[in-house]
Protein backbone atom coordinates (compact mmCIF):
# COMPACT_ATOMS: atom_id res chain seq x y z
CA UNK A 1 0.00 0.00 0.00
CA UNK A 2 1.00 3.62 -0.09
CA UNK A 3 1.56 3.79 -3.82
CA UNK A 4 -1.50 6.01 -4.17
CA UNK A 5 0.26 8.69 -2.16
CA UNK A 6 3.03 10.88 -3.49
CA UNK A 7 6.07 10.83 -1.25
CA UNK A 8 6.91 13.56 -0.66
CA UNK A 9 3.74 15.50 -1.50
CA UNK A 10 3.82 17.49 -4.71
CA UNK A 11 3.91 21.27 -4.80
CA UNK A 12 0.80 23.07 -3.69
CA UNK A 13 -1.39 23.92 -6.66
CA UNK A 14 -4.69 25.70 -6.95
CA UNK A 15 -7.71 23.46 -6.54
CA UNK A 16 -10.02 26.01 -8.16
CA UNK A 17 -7.78 26.21 -11.21
CA UNK A 18 -7.87 22.43 -11.40
CA UNK A 19 -11.65 22.67 -11.20
CA UNK A 20 -11.80 25.24 -14.00
CA UNK A 21 -9.62 23.08 -16.25
CA UNK A 22 -11.57 19.95 -15.44
CA UNK A 23 -14.79 21.79 -16.20
CA UNK A 24 -13.55 22.79 -19.65
CA UNK A 25 -12.47 19.23 -20.33
CA UNK A 26 -15.88 18.00 -19.24
CA UNK A 27 -17.55 20.55 -21.49
CA UNK A 28 -15.58 19.22 -24.45
CA UNK A 29 -16.51 15.64 -23.66
CA UNK A 30 -20.19 16.24 -22.97
CA UNK A 31 -22.16 18.77 -24.97
CA UNK A 32 -25.17 18.56 -22.62
CA UNK A 33 -23.16 20.05 -19.75
CA UNK A 34 -24.07 23.67 -19.03
CA UNK A 35 -22.60 25.88 -16.32
CA UNK A 36 -24.39 28.47 -14.22
CA UNK A 37 -22.90 31.08 -11.96
CA UNK A 38 -24.14 33.55 -9.36
CA UNK A 39 -21.55 36.09 -10.45
CA UNK A 40 -18.51 34.59 -8.76
CA UNK A 41 -17.04 32.87 -11.80
CA UNK A 42 -13.67 34.57 -11.42
CA UNK A 43 -13.57 33.29 -7.83
CA UNK A 44 -14.44 29.65 -8.52
CA UNK A 45 -12.73 29.61 -11.94
CA UNK A 46 -15.85 28.56 -13.82
CA UNK A 47 -14.97 31.58 -15.99
CA UNK A 48 -12.71 29.16 -17.84
CA UNK A 49 -15.81 27.29 -19.01
CA UNK A 50 -17.45 30.57 -19.99
CA UNK A 51 -14.42 31.45 -22.12
CA UNK A 52 -14.51 28.07 -23.86
CA UNK A 53 -18.28 27.67 -24.21
CA UNK A 54 -19.97 31.08 -23.93
CA UNK A 55 -23.30 29.75 -25.23
CA UNK A 56 -23.46 27.16 -22.47
CA UNK A 57 -22.68 29.49 -19.58
CA UNK A 58 -25.33 31.51 -17.73
CA UNK A 59 -24.61 34.19 -15.15
CA UNK A 60 -27.86 34.73 -13.25
CA UNK A 61 -26.49 37.50 -11.06
CA UNK A 62 -26.12 37.48 -7.29
CA UNK A 63 -29.22 35.37 -6.81
CA UNK A 64 -28.53 31.92 -5.42
CA UNK A 65 -32.15 30.71 -5.22
CA UNK A 66 -32.60 31.60 -8.89
CA UNK A 67 -29.23 29.99 -9.65
CA UNK A 68 -30.54 26.66 -8.41
CA UNK A 69 -34.04 27.04 -9.86
CA UNK A 70 -32.82 28.04 -13.33
CA UNK A 71 -30.53 25.00 -13.20
CA UNK A 72 -33.59 22.89 -12.33
CA UNK A 73 -35.35 24.12 -15.45
CA UNK A 74 -32.33 23.28 -17.59
CA UNK A 75 -32.03 19.84 -16.00
CA UNK A 76 -35.69 19.19 -16.74
CA UNK A 77 -34.88 20.04 -20.35
CA UNK A 78 -32.23 17.34 -20.65
CA UNK A 79 -29.16 19.37 -19.80
CA UNK A 80 -26.63 18.51 -17.10
CA UNK A 81 -26.31 21.83 -15.26
CA UNK A 82 -23.40 22.52 -12.96
CA UNK A 83 -24.33 25.43 -10.70
CA UNK A 84 -21.52 27.40 -9.12
CA UNK A 85 -21.37 29.64 -6.12
CA UNK A 86 -19.88 29.68 -2.65
CA UNK A 87 -20.57 26.52 -0.69
CA UNK A 88 -22.22 28.26 2.25
CA UNK A 89 -24.75 29.92 -0.06
CA UNK A 90 -25.93 26.61 -1.50
CA UNK A 91 -26.28 25.23 2.01
CA UNK A 92 -28.04 28.23 3.49
CA UNK A 93 -29.73 30.66 1.13
CA UNK A 94 -30.60 28.20 -1.61
CA UNK A 95 -31.22 25.10 0.46
CA UNK A 96 -35.01 25.18 0.04
CA UNK A 97 -34.52 25.01 -3.71
CA UNK A 98 -32.08 22.16 -3.22
CA UNK A 99 -34.47 20.23 -1.02
CA UNK A 100 -37.65 20.79 -3.02
CA UNK A 101 -36.37 20.45 -6.56
CA UNK A 102 -33.06 18.60 -6.56
CA UNK A 103 -33.87 16.10 -3.84
CA UNK A 104 -37.67 15.80 -3.74
CA UNK A 105 -38.13 16.63 -7.42
CA UNK A 106 -35.04 14.64 -8.52
CA UNK A 107 -33.69 17.36 -10.79
CA UNK A 108 -30.34 16.22 -12.15
CA UNK A 109 -28.42 19.30 -11.04
CA UNK A 110 -24.82 19.34 -9.82
CA UNK A 111 -23.83 21.92 -7.23
CA UNK A 112 -20.18 22.95 -7.17
CA UNK A 113 -19.69 24.53 -3.75
CA UNK A 114 -16.62 26.74 -3.93
CA UNK A 115 -14.57 28.06 -1.02
CA UNK A 116 -15.80 25.30 1.32
CA UNK A 117 -14.66 24.71 4.87
CA UNK A 118 -12.32 27.41 6.13
CA UNK A 119 -10.67 27.88 2.74
CA UNK A 120 -11.99 31.40 2.18
CA UNK A 121 -10.03 32.03 5.31
CA UNK A 122 -9.45 35.78 5.30
CA UNK A 123 -13.06 36.61 4.39
CA UNK A 124 -14.08 35.26 7.78
CA UNK A 125 -16.94 33.28 9.27
CA UNK A 126 -19.59 34.85 7.02
CA UNK A 127 -17.85 33.12 4.11
CA UNK A 128 -16.65 29.96 5.82
CA UNK A 129 -18.74 26.88 5.15
CA UNK A 130 -18.54 24.50 8.07
CA UNK A 131 -22.09 23.12 8.26
CA UNK A 132 -22.78 22.47 4.58
CA UNK A 133 -22.15 18.73 4.68
CA UNK A 134 -24.53 18.36 7.64
CA UNK A 135 -27.23 20.28 5.81
CA UNK A 136 -26.80 18.55 2.46
CA UNK A 137 -26.35 15.11 3.98
CA UNK A 138 -29.72 15.24 5.70
CA UNK A 139 -31.53 15.61 2.38
CA UNK A 140 -32.83 12.35 0.91
CA UNK A 141 -31.36 11.46 -2.52
CA UNK A 142 -28.41 13.85 -2.22
CA UNK A 143 -24.90 12.67 -3.07
CA UNK A 144 -21.91 14.45 -1.55
CA UNK A 145 -18.40 14.31 -3.01
CA UNK A 146 -15.32 15.95 -1.44
CA UNK A 147 -12.09 15.86 -3.48
CA UNK A 148 -8.86 15.99 -1.49
CA UNK A 149 -6.44 17.38 -4.07
CA UNK A 150 -6.32 18.71 -7.64
CA UNK A 151 -5.94 15.27 -9.21
CA UNK A 152 -9.00 14.13 -7.27
CA UNK A 153 -10.94 17.02 -8.83
CA UNK A 154 -9.94 15.86 -12.33
CA UNK A 155 -10.86 12.28 -11.56
CA UNK A 156 -14.12 12.94 -9.75
CA UNK A 157 -15.73 15.75 -11.76
CA UNK A 158 -16.61 13.57 -14.79
CA UNK A 159 -18.15 11.02 -12.43
CA UNK A 160 -20.16 13.76 -10.72
CA UNK A 161 -21.51 14.84 -14.11
CA UNK A 162 -22.36 11.26 -15.04
CA UNK A 163 -23.96 10.44 -11.68
CA UNK A 164 -27.72 10.08 -11.84
CA UNK A 165 -29.32 12.63 -9.52
CA UNK A 166 -28.22 15.68 -7.56
CA UNK A 167 -24.63 15.95 -6.34
CA UNK A 168 -23.00 18.42 -4.00
CA UNK A 169 -19.32 18.75 -4.94
CA UNK A 170 -17.40 20.42 -2.14
CA UNK A 171 -14.36 22.37 -3.27
CA UNK A 172 -11.47 24.18 -1.63
CA UNK A 173 -10.45 27.69 -2.65
CA UNK A 174 -6.72 27.46 -2.09
CA UNK A 175 -3.47 26.05 -3.28
CA UNK A 176 -3.25 22.64 -1.70
CA UNK A 177 -0.54 19.97 -1.78
CA UNK A 178 -0.78 17.31 -4.46
CA UNK A 179 -1.10 14.15 -2.44
CA UNK A 180 -2.13 11.52 -4.97
CA UNK A 181 -0.07 9.63 -7.50
CA UNK A 182 -1.43 8.89 -10.97
CA UNK A 183 -2.59 5.49 -9.72
CA UNK A 184 -5.34 7.16 -7.69
CA UNK A 185 -8.63 6.17 -9.35
CA UNK A 186 -11.51 7.12 -7.04
CA UNK A 187 -15.02 5.81 -7.69
CA UNK A 188 -18.02 7.66 -6.25
CA UNK A 189 -19.46 5.69 -3.35
CA UNK A 190 -16.28 3.73 -2.62
CA UNK A 191 -13.79 4.69 0.07
CA UNK A 192 -10.09 4.38 -0.70
CA UNK A 193 -7.68 2.68 1.67
CA UNK A 194 -4.56 4.81 1.38
CA UNK A 195 -2.44 3.21 4.10
CA UNK A 196 -2.94 -0.11 5.84
CA UNK A 197 -2.76 -0.74 9.56
CA UNK A 198 -4.44 -2.77 12.25
CA UNK A 199 -4.47 -0.65 15.44
CA UNK A 200 -6.94 2.08 14.50
CA UNK A 201 -8.59 3.51 11.38
CA UNK A 202 -8.38 7.17 10.45
CA UNK A 203 -11.13 8.16 8.00
CA UNK A 204 -10.73 11.52 6.31
CA UNK A 205 -11.96 13.62 3.43
CA UNK A 206 -10.93 16.79 1.66
CA UNK A 207 -7.82 18.83 2.31
CA UNK A 208 -7.29 17.27 5.80
CA UNK A 209 -6.42 13.98 4.08
CA UNK A 210 -2.91 15.41 3.68
CA UNK A 211 -2.71 16.16 7.40
CA UNK A 212 -4.09 12.71 8.16
CA UNK A 213 -1.29 11.12 6.14
CA UNK A 214 1.25 13.12 8.14
CA UNK A 215 -0.42 12.09 11.39
CA UNK A 216 -0.44 8.41 10.45
CA UNK A 217 3.24 8.57 9.48
CA UNK A 218 4.05 10.20 12.80
CA UNK A 219 2.06 7.55 14.68
CA UNK A 220 3.99 4.83 12.83
CA UNK A 221 7.22 6.30 14.15
CA UNK A 222 5.78 5.68 17.62
CA UNK A 223 4.74 2.14 16.86
CA UNK A 224 1.07 2.77 16.19
CA UNK A 225 -0.11 1.21 12.95
CA UNK A 226 -3.03 3.24 11.79
CA UNK A 227 -5.06 2.48 8.69
CA UNK A 228 -5.98 5.52 6.62
CA UNK A 229 -9.14 5.60 4.55
CA UNK A 230 -10.10 8.46 2.27
CA UNK A 231 -13.86 8.85 2.17
CA UNK A 232 -14.33 11.23 -0.77
CA UNK A 233 -18.01 10.30 -0.95
CA UNK A 234 -19.78 11.27 2.25
CA UNK A 235 -23.13 10.15 0.91
CA UNK A 236 -23.85 7.43 0.00
CA UNK A 237 -21.36 6.38 2.67
CA UNK A 238 -19.27 3.28 1.98
CA UNK A 239 -20.68 1.59 5.08
CA UNK A 240 -19.29 -1.79 4.14
CA UNK A 241 -15.75 -0.40 4.31
CA UNK A 242 -16.43 1.59 7.50
CA UNK A 243 -17.86 -1.48 9.24
CA UNK A 244 -14.98 -3.67 8.11
CA UNK A 245 -12.42 -1.15 9.38
CA UNK A 246 -14.19 -0.97 12.74
CA UNK A 247 -14.16 -4.76 13.03
CA UNK A 248 -10.56 -5.15 11.94
CA UNK A 249 -8.99 -2.25 13.85
CA UNK A 250 -11.38 -1.73 16.77
CA UNK A 251 -11.14 2.08 16.86
CA UNK A 252 -11.98 4.92 14.48
CA UNK A 253 -11.02 8.59 14.16
CA UNK A 254 -12.64 10.82 11.54
CA UNK A 255 -10.91 13.94 10.22
CA UNK A 256 -12.64 16.64 8.22
CA UNK A 257 -12.74 20.37 7.54
CA UNK A 258 -16.28 20.77 8.84
CA UNK A 259 -18.12 21.06 12.11
CA UNK A 260 -17.87 17.95 14.27
CA UNK A 261 -21.68 17.95 14.07
CA UNK A 262 -23.22 16.17 11.13
CA UNK A 263 -20.32 15.83 8.71
CA UNK A 264 -18.16 12.84 7.85
CA UNK A 265 -17.77 12.11 11.57
CA UNK A 266 -21.50 12.19 12.05
CA UNK A 267 -22.05 9.89 9.09
CA UNK A 268 -19.50 7.35 10.32
CA UNK A 269 -20.81 7.50 13.91
CA UNK A 270 -24.36 6.98 12.73
CA UNK A 271 -23.33 4.01 10.64
CA UNK A 272 -21.23 2.35 13.32
CA UNK A 273 -23.85 2.87 16.04
CA UNK A 274 -26.07 0.47 14.13
CA UNK A 275 -23.35 -1.87 12.92
CA UNK A 276 -20.27 -2.24 15.08
CA UNK A 277 -19.75 0.49 17.69
CA UNK A 278 -16.10 1.01 18.59
CA UNK A 279 -14.24 3.78 20.42
CA UNK A 280 -14.43 6.77 18.11
CA UNK A 281 -13.41 10.43 17.93
CA UNK A 282 -14.33 13.11 15.47
CA UNK A 283 -11.62 15.58 14.52
CA UNK A 284 -13.05 18.73 13.02
CA UNK A 285 -14.18 22.23 13.88
CA UNK A 286 -15.77 22.39 17.32
CA UNK A 287 -19.30 23.75 17.52
CA UNK A 288 -18.19 27.32 16.92
CA UNK A 289 -17.62 29.95 14.26
CA UNK A 290 -13.98 30.50 13.32
CA UNK A 291 -12.37 33.85 12.46
CA UNK A 292 -10.36 35.54 9.71
CA UNK A 293 -6.77 34.49 9.20
CA UNK A 294 -4.31 32.47 7.12
CA UNK A 295 -5.83 29.18 5.96
CA UNK A 296 -3.33 26.70 7.37
CA UNK A 297 -3.15 28.50 10.68
CA UNK A 298 -6.94 28.51 10.88
CA UNK A 299 -6.98 24.75 10.32
CA UNK A 300 -4.49 24.38 13.16
CA UNK A 301 -6.35 26.66 15.55
CA UNK A 302 -9.80 25.28 14.80
CA UNK A 303 -9.19 21.65 15.56
CA UNK A 304 -7.69 20.13 12.41
CA UNK A 305 -3.96 20.09 13.18
CA UNK A 306 -1.76 17.03 12.84
CA UNK A 307 -1.46 17.09 16.64
CA UNK A 308 -5.24 17.06 17.01
CA UNK A 309 -5.37 13.92 14.88
CA UNK A 310 -2.61 12.07 16.74
CA UNK A 311 -4.11 13.09 20.10
CA UNK A 312 -7.50 11.75 19.04
CA UNK A 313 -5.88 8.48 17.94
CA UNK A 314 -4.17 8.14 21.32
CA UNK A 315 -7.49 8.66 23.10
CA UNK A 316 -9.37 6.03 21.09
CA UNK A 317 -6.49 3.60 21.55
CA UNK A 318 -6.66 4.14 25.31
CA UNK A 319 -10.39 3.52 25.27
CA UNK A 320 -9.93 0.50 23.08
CA UNK A 321 -7.62 -0.93 25.74
CA UNK A 322 -10.24 -0.38 28.42
CA UNK A 323 -9.27 2.98 29.87
CA UNK A 324 -11.94 5.53 30.57
CA UNK A 325 -10.96 8.58 28.49
CA UNK A 326 -13.26 11.51 27.94
CA UNK A 327 -13.30 12.99 24.47
CA UNK A 328 -11.61 16.37 24.27
CA UNK A 329 -13.17 18.89 22.00
CA UNK A 330 -10.81 21.77 22.22
CA UNK A 331 -12.25 24.99 23.46
CA UNK A 332 -11.25 27.83 21.20
Amino acid sequence: MGSLILGPFGNAVSMRKAYGEALVELGRARSEVVVLSADVSNSDFSYMFEAAFPDRFFNVGIAEPALVDVAVGLAKSGRVPIANTFAFLFATRAVEMVRTHLCYGEANVKLAGAYAGLSDSFDGPTHHSITDIAIMRSQPRMTIVVPADPLAVYRLLPQVAAWKGPVYLRLCRNEVPQIYSREYEPVIGKGVTLMDGEDVTVISCGVPVGRSIQAVERLAENGVHARLVEMHTIKPLDGELVGRCARETGAVVTVEEHSIIGGLGGAVAEYLSGDHPVPMERVGIPDTFAESGPYLELLDKYGISVDAITDAVQRVLARKSGECVQPVYRKI
Partner: protein, 299 residues
Protein backbone atom coordinates in the same frame (compact mmCIF):
# COMPACT_ATOMS: atom_id res chain seq x y z
CA UNK B 1 -76.38 12.95 -3.43
CA UNK B 2 -79.01 12.89 -6.14
CA UNK B 3 -78.50 15.62 -8.68
CA UNK B 4 -74.80 15.69 -7.91
CA UNK B 5 -73.50 13.11 -10.32
CA UNK B 6 -69.85 13.29 -11.30
CA UNK B 7 -69.03 15.80 -13.97
CA UNK B 8 -69.07 14.11 -17.32
CA UNK B 9 -65.62 14.27 -18.86
CA UNK B 10 -65.59 15.95 -22.18
CA UNK B 11 -62.83 14.53 -24.30
CA UNK B 12 -62.98 17.46 -26.64
CA UNK B 13 -59.73 19.31 -27.08
CA UNK B 14 -59.51 22.42 -29.23
CA UNK B 15 -55.97 22.01 -30.53
CA UNK B 16 -53.55 24.89 -30.51
CA UNK B 17 -54.41 27.20 -33.36
CA UNK B 18 -58.12 26.38 -33.44
CA UNK B 19 -60.04 29.56 -34.25
CA UNK B 20 -61.92 30.79 -31.21
CA UNK B 21 -65.70 30.65 -31.46
CA UNK B 22 -68.37 31.62 -28.96
CA UNK B 23 -69.34 27.95 -28.73
CA UNK B 24 -65.78 26.98 -27.84
CA UNK B 25 -65.62 29.66 -25.14
CA UNK B 26 -69.00 28.54 -23.79
CA UNK B 27 -67.93 24.91 -23.71
CA UNK B 28 -64.67 25.66 -21.92
CA UNK B 29 -66.42 27.98 -19.46
CA UNK B 30 -68.97 25.27 -18.68
CA UNK B 31 -66.23 22.76 -18.10
CA UNK B 32 -64.44 25.13 -15.71
CA UNK B 33 -67.55 24.96 -13.52
CA UNK B 34 -67.68 21.18 -13.77
CA UNK B 35 -64.09 21.05 -12.63
CA UNK B 36 -64.92 23.30 -9.68
CA UNK B 37 -67.54 20.75 -8.66
CA UNK B 38 -64.95 18.00 -8.84
CA UNK B 39 -62.53 20.01 -6.69
CA UNK B 40 -65.29 20.68 -4.16
CA UNK B 41 -65.95 16.95 -3.93
CA UNK B 42 -62.27 16.12 -3.53
CA UNK B 43 -61.68 18.59 -0.72
CA UNK B 44 -64.98 17.85 1.01
CA UNK B 45 -64.39 14.12 0.66
CA UNK B 46 -60.89 14.22 2.07
CA UNK B 47 -61.59 17.08 4.51
CA UNK B 48 -58.32 18.55 3.30
CA UNK B 49 -57.14 20.83 0.52
CA UNK B 50 -57.41 24.35 -0.86
CA UNK B 51 -60.57 25.48 -2.60
CA UNK B 52 -60.30 29.25 -3.01
CA UNK B 53 -57.21 29.38 -5.21
CA UNK B 54 -58.35 26.33 -7.16
CA UNK B 55 -61.60 28.05 -8.10
CA UNK B 56 -59.85 31.26 -9.18
CA UNK B 57 -57.66 29.42 -11.70
CA UNK B 58 -60.38 27.20 -13.23
CA UNK B 59 -60.96 29.03 -16.51
CA UNK B 60 -57.26 29.72 -17.08
CA UNK B 61 -56.18 26.11 -16.57
CA UNK B 62 -59.07 24.86 -18.69
CA UNK B 63 -58.04 27.14 -21.54
CA UNK B 64 -54.43 26.07 -21.25
CA UNK B 65 -54.99 22.32 -21.13
CA UNK B 66 -57.85 22.05 -23.60
CA UNK B 67 -56.57 24.52 -26.16
CA UNK B 68 -53.22 26.20 -25.72
CA UNK B 69 -50.75 23.55 -24.59
CA UNK B 70 -49.32 21.07 -27.06
CA UNK B 71 -49.29 17.86 -25.07
CA UNK B 72 -49.70 14.14 -25.47
CA UNK B 73 -51.37 12.60 -22.42
CA UNK B 74 -50.37 9.17 -23.75
CA UNK B 75 -46.75 10.28 -23.72
CA UNK B 76 -46.44 12.74 -20.84
CA UNK B 77 -42.67 13.04 -21.23
CA UNK B 78 -42.75 13.82 -24.96
CA UNK B 79 -39.66 15.97 -25.41
CA UNK B 80 -41.25 18.78 -27.40
CA UNK B 81 -44.37 19.17 -25.29
CA UNK B 82 -45.19 22.61 -23.97
CA UNK B 83 -44.36 22.82 -20.28
CA UNK B 84 -46.71 24.07 -17.61
CA UNK B 85 -45.26 24.88 -14.22
CA UNK B 86 -48.01 25.08 -11.67
CA UNK B 87 -46.20 27.28 -9.22
CA UNK B 88 -49.18 27.88 -6.88
CA UNK B 89 -49.02 24.24 -5.85
CA UNK B 90 -51.54 24.44 -3.02
CA UNK B 91 -54.32 24.78 -5.62
CA UNK B 92 -53.39 21.42 -7.14
CA UNK B 93 -56.85 19.90 -6.72
CA UNK B 94 -57.77 21.87 -9.84
CA UNK B 95 -54.59 20.83 -11.66
CA UNK B 96 -55.23 17.15 -10.88
CA UNK B 97 -58.86 17.44 -11.96
CA UNK B 98 -57.91 18.96 -15.28
CA UNK B 99 -55.02 16.54 -15.89
CA UNK B 100 -57.39 13.64 -15.27
CA UNK B 101 -60.00 15.00 -17.63
CA UNK B 102 -57.30 15.67 -20.21
CA UNK B 103 -56.43 11.99 -20.05
CA UNK B 104 -53.23 11.87 -18.04
CA UNK B 105 -54.67 9.44 -15.48
CA UNK B 106 -58.08 7.97 -14.62
CA UNK B 107 -60.73 10.34 -13.31
CA UNK B 108 -61.57 7.63 -10.77
CA UNK B 109 -58.29 8.40 -9.04
CA UNK B 110 -59.29 11.94 -8.08
CA UNK B 111 -61.00 10.97 -4.80
CA UNK B 112 -57.71 9.45 -3.58
CA UNK B 113 -56.31 13.01 -3.41
CA UNK B 114 -54.16 13.48 -0.28
CA UNK B 115 -54.76 9.91 0.91
CA UNK B 116 -52.25 7.19 1.74
CA UNK B 117 -50.79 5.43 -1.32
CA UNK B 118 -52.31 7.99 -3.67
CA UNK B 119 -50.50 9.31 -6.73
CA UNK B 120 -52.10 12.67 -5.95
CA UNK B 121 -50.00 14.22 -3.21
CA UNK B 122 -51.06 17.18 -1.09
CA UNK B 123 -48.83 19.29 -3.30
CA UNK B 124 -47.65 18.24 -6.77
CA UNK B 125 -44.94 15.60 -7.12
CA UNK B 126 -43.79 14.94 -10.68
CA UNK B 127 -42.58 11.39 -10.11
CA UNK B 128 -46.03 10.32 -8.94
CA UNK B 129 -48.47 12.27 -11.06
CA UNK B 130 -48.34 12.07 -14.87
CA UNK B 131 -48.43 15.56 -16.37
CA UNK B 132 -46.86 17.31 -13.38
CA UNK B 133 -43.52 18.85 -14.38
CA UNK B 134 -41.96 19.93 -11.07
CA UNK B 135 -42.87 19.93 -7.39
CA UNK B 136 -44.65 22.99 -6.07
CA UNK B 137 -45.95 24.16 -2.75
CA UNK B 138 -43.12 26.23 -1.33
CA UNK B 139 -44.03 29.36 -3.26
CA UNK B 140 -41.98 31.39 -5.67
CA UNK B 141 -40.14 28.83 -7.79
CA UNK B 142 -42.10 29.03 -11.02
CA UNK B 143 -40.49 31.92 -12.85
CA UNK B 144 -36.86 30.91 -12.32
CA UNK B 145 -37.50 27.26 -13.16
CA UNK B 146 -39.52 28.38 -16.17
CA UNK B 147 -36.60 30.55 -17.25
CA UNK B 148 -34.33 27.50 -17.11
CA UNK B 149 -36.78 25.45 -19.14
CA UNK B 150 -37.14 28.26 -21.66
CA UNK B 151 -33.35 28.47 -22.00
CA UNK B 152 -33.30 24.70 -22.53
CA UNK B 153 -35.95 24.93 -25.25
CA UNK B 154 -34.01 27.67 -26.98
CA UNK B 155 -30.77 25.68 -26.87
CA UNK B 156 -32.63 22.73 -28.38
CA UNK B 157 -33.94 24.93 -31.19
CA UNK B 158 -37.39 23.76 -30.13
CA UNK B 159 -40.57 25.78 -30.54
CA UNK B 160 -42.00 24.39 -27.33
CA UNK B 161 -43.18 27.03 -24.88
CA UNK B 162 -43.07 27.26 -21.13
CA UNK B 163 -46.12 28.44 -19.21
CA UNK B 164 -45.98 29.32 -15.53
CA UNK B 165 -49.07 29.75 -13.37
CA UNK B 166 -48.42 31.94 -10.34
CA UNK B 167 -50.57 33.02 -7.48
CA UNK B 168 -50.52 36.64 -6.44
CA UNK B 169 -49.49 35.93 -2.86
CA UNK B 170 -46.49 34.23 -4.38
CA UNK B 171 -45.33 37.59 -5.70
CA UNK B 172 -44.22 38.37 -2.14
CA UNK B 173 -41.29 35.99 -2.62
CA UNK B 174 -37.95 37.45 -3.68
CA UNK B 175 -37.01 34.56 -5.92
CA UNK B 176 -39.94 35.45 -8.22
CA UNK B 177 -38.17 38.68 -9.05
CA UNK B 178 -34.78 37.00 -9.33
CA UNK B 179 -36.32 34.74 -11.95
CA UNK B 180 -38.01 37.70 -13.64
CA UNK B 181 -34.64 39.40 -14.08
CA UNK B 182 -33.04 36.24 -15.46
CA UNK B 183 -35.85 35.74 -18.01
CA UNK B 184 -35.62 39.36 -19.14
CA UNK B 185 -31.82 39.30 -19.34
CA UNK B 186 -31.96 36.37 -21.75
CA UNK B 187 -34.98 37.72 -23.66
CA UNK B 188 -36.98 34.55 -23.17
CA UNK B 189 -40.01 35.12 -25.38
CA UNK B 190 -40.88 31.42 -25.11
CA UNK B 191 -41.74 31.98 -21.44
CA UNK B 192 -45.33 32.98 -20.61
CA UNK B 193 -46.31 33.69 -17.02
CA UNK B 194 -49.92 33.93 -15.92
CA UNK B 195 -50.60 35.53 -12.56
CA UNK B 196 -53.84 34.40 -10.93
CA UNK B 197 -54.34 37.77 -9.29
CA UNK B 198 -57.26 37.02 -7.01
CA UNK B 199 -56.30 39.62 -4.44
CA UNK B 200 -56.58 37.33 -1.43
CA UNK B 201 -53.93 35.29 0.34
CA UNK B 202 -53.93 33.06 3.38
CA UNK B 203 -54.55 35.62 6.11
CA UNK B 204 -56.25 38.43 4.23
CA UNK B 205 -56.28 40.74 1.26
CA UNK B 206 -52.99 40.97 -0.60
CA UNK B 207 -53.46 44.73 -0.49
CA UNK B 208 -53.18 44.50 3.30
CA UNK B 209 -50.84 41.53 3.81
CA UNK B 210 -48.23 42.71 1.34
CA UNK B 211 -49.25 45.30 -1.21
CA UNK B 212 -48.01 44.34 -4.67
CA UNK B 213 -49.71 47.03 -6.75
CA UNK B 214 -49.03 48.52 -9.19
CA UNK B 215 -48.30 44.99 -10.34
CA UNK B 216 -48.40 45.60 -14.08
CA UNK B 217 -45.87 48.41 -13.76
CA UNK B 218 -43.64 46.20 -11.63
CA UNK B 219 -43.41 43.53 -14.31
CA UNK B 220 -43.01 46.16 -17.02
CA UNK B 221 -40.12 47.73 -15.14
CA UNK B 222 -38.50 44.29 -15.05
CA UNK B 223 -38.59 44.40 -18.87
CA UNK B 224 -41.47 42.01 -19.35
CA UNK B 225 -44.31 42.46 -21.82
CA UNK B 226 -47.42 42.84 -19.68
CA UNK B 227 -51.08 42.15 -20.42
CA UNK B 228 -53.99 42.48 -18.04
CA UNK B 229 -57.20 40.53 -18.48
CA UNK B 230 -60.36 39.42 -16.75
CA UNK B 231 -59.28 35.98 -15.62
CA UNK B 232 -62.72 34.36 -15.69
CA UNK B 233 -63.64 35.58 -19.16
CA UNK B 234 -62.79 32.72 -21.47
CA UNK B 235 -62.66 34.81 -24.63
CA UNK B 236 -60.21 37.22 -23.00
CA UNK B 237 -58.05 34.36 -21.74
CA UNK B 238 -57.91 32.70 -25.14
CA UNK B 239 -57.08 35.95 -26.87
CA UNK B 240 -54.39 36.87 -24.38
CA UNK B 241 -52.70 33.49 -24.81
CA UNK B 242 -52.66 34.07 -28.57
CA UNK B 243 -51.35 37.61 -28.22
CA UNK B 244 -48.59 36.32 -25.93
CA UNK B 245 -47.26 34.28 -28.83
CA UNK B 246 -46.78 37.41 -30.90
CA UNK B 247 -44.24 39.00 -28.56
CA UNK B 248 -40.59 38.72 -29.52
CA UNK B 249 -37.42 39.02 -27.45
CA UNK B 250 -39.23 39.57 -24.17
CA UNK B 251 -40.92 37.27 -21.70
CA UNK B 252 -44.67 37.80 -21.30
CA UNK B 253 -46.78 38.08 -18.19
CA UNK B 254 -50.56 37.98 -18.24
CA UNK B 255 -51.98 39.51 -15.07
CA UNK B 256 -55.36 37.82 -14.81
CA UNK B 257 -57.76 39.58 -12.48
CA UNK B 258 -59.69 36.79 -10.79
CA UNK B 259 -61.87 36.10 -7.78
CA UNK B 260 -60.72 33.77 -5.05
CA UNK B 261 -63.42 31.17 -4.43
CA UNK B 262 -65.06 32.10 -7.76
CA UNK B 263 -68.46 30.49 -8.29
CA UNK B 264 -69.60 30.11 -4.70
CA UNK B 265 -70.94 33.35 -3.25
CA UNK B 266 -69.99 32.73 0.36
CA UNK B 267 -66.45 31.69 -0.60
CA UNK B 268 -65.68 34.56 -2.93
CA UNK B 269 -62.99 37.00 -1.79
CA UNK B 270 -62.82 35.40 1.65
CA UNK B 271 -59.36 34.45 2.86
CA UNK B 272 -61.05 31.87 5.12
CA UNK B 273 -61.64 29.78 2.00
CA UNK B 274 -57.96 29.64 1.15
CA UNK B 275 -57.88 26.40 3.08
CA UNK B 276 -61.23 26.00 4.83
CA UNK B 277 -63.19 22.74 4.58
CA UNK B 278 -66.94 22.98 3.92
CA UNK B 279 -69.46 21.58 6.38
CA UNK B 280 -72.18 19.30 5.03
CA UNK B 281 -74.53 22.26 4.63
CA UNK B 282 -71.87 24.39 3.02
CA UNK B 283 -71.02 21.57 0.65
CA UNK B 284 -74.64 21.29 -0.48
CA UNK B 285 -74.98 25.05 -0.87
CA UNK B 286 -71.73 25.32 -2.81
CA UNK B 287 -72.70 22.39 -5.02
CA UNK B 288 -76.01 24.01 -5.87
CA UNK B 289 -74.33 27.27 -6.83
CA UNK B 290 -71.73 25.55 -8.98
CA UNK B 291 -74.39 23.47 -10.72
CA UNK B 292 -76.10 26.73 -11.60
CA UNK B 293 -72.74 27.90 -12.86
CA UNK B 294 -72.58 24.93 -15.19
CA UNK B 295 -76.10 25.58 -16.42
CA UNK B 296 -75.42 29.20 -17.29
CA UNK B 297 -72.96 28.02 -19.95
CA UNK B 298 -75.13 25.31 -21.42
CA UNK B 299 -76.17 26.30 -24.91
Amino acid sequence: MSGSARPVPSPRVYPYGTAHTPEMAFDLSRRAYEYRIQVLRMVYGRKSGHIGGAFSIAEILTALYFHQLRLDPGNPTWEDRDRLIFSKGHACAMLYTILAHRGFFPIDELPTFRGLNSRLQGHPEPQKTPGVEVPAGPLGHGVAIGAGMALGARMDGSRRKVYVVLGDGELNAGVIWEGAMVAAKFGLDNLKVIVDYNGVQQTGLTAKVMPTEPIAEKWASFNWHVMEIHGHNMAEILNALDRADEIHARPVVIVARTTKGKGVSFMENESLWHGNIPTDDQFQAALAELQNGVKQWEV
